[in-house]
Amino acid sequence: MKGIPTVLITVSPEVSAQMRPPRALYPKGFKIGNSLGRPGMRDLQKKVLCDALNLMTQNTRPGEVVTIEYPEYGEQYEPPHVKTLR
C-alpha cells in the first residue's frame, strides 16, 4: 500500500487532533452533525468542501487542524473538549 492522501473535515478539532490527521479543516463553530454546514446551504457546503480540498495542495503541517471561519453559518457552537483523567 502506497498510501492515500486524505483531508478530514472535523467539528471536534480537539478530539480529532489527538489522532494527528495528515490534513484537517475545522469550520469554526459548526455543530456536530453539520460538518459541511446547515441543510440546503449549498454555497456554504461547496465553500467548505473546496477549502478542505485546497488543503491538499497547500503546505500544511501534518497533524495540524486548520480553522476557517464561515460567518454565513450563523449561530456558532462550542466544540467538545477532550476530557483529561486526573
Binding site: M1, P5, T6, I9, T10, V11, I32, L36, P39, L49
Partner: protein, 141 residues
Amino acid sequence: MTISRKCVPFTPFDRELSKSTIAIVTAGGVHLKDQEAFNIADELGDLTYREIPPDVDSSQLMVTHHHYDHSDADEDINVVFPIDVLRDLESEGFIGGVAKKHIGYMGYTMQLKAMYEGTAHEIANEIDRGSRADAVVLTGG
C-alpha cells in the same frame, strides 16, 4: 503492515485537483436506505461499513447512528456526506471526477483495536483498489 502511532501517516498529494478523482469516507453512519442499517443495539458499536456508488440519488441515503443528532443530515445528507456537492465540483471542473466508490461507517466503537487494525484497513483497501480515488475527504458526524 503496522501503522505507527507516533508519526503522522502523511501521504503527499502531487496532482492537480482539476485532474483528480475524489472519494468520500464518512463516519457519520451514512448508508443506502436499502442497505442493512448499522447495528445501534450493540453497545460495543458496529464495525461494518457500507459501499456507496458514485451515481447514488442522495434522497436514497440515510443515517443510522445514535451518538449524534443527525436530524439535519436526515433533511440534507450533504451536511455530513457531500456527494451532491462533489458532483457539482466535478461539473464545474474544480475536481476531475467523483470516485467509483464511497464509504459510510458508524464512527462509534468501544472496539478501538478492531476498528484501527481491521475496519480501517478494509476501508483503505476498498478505496485503494476499488474506487480509483486520487484523494479522500473524511467526515465525521
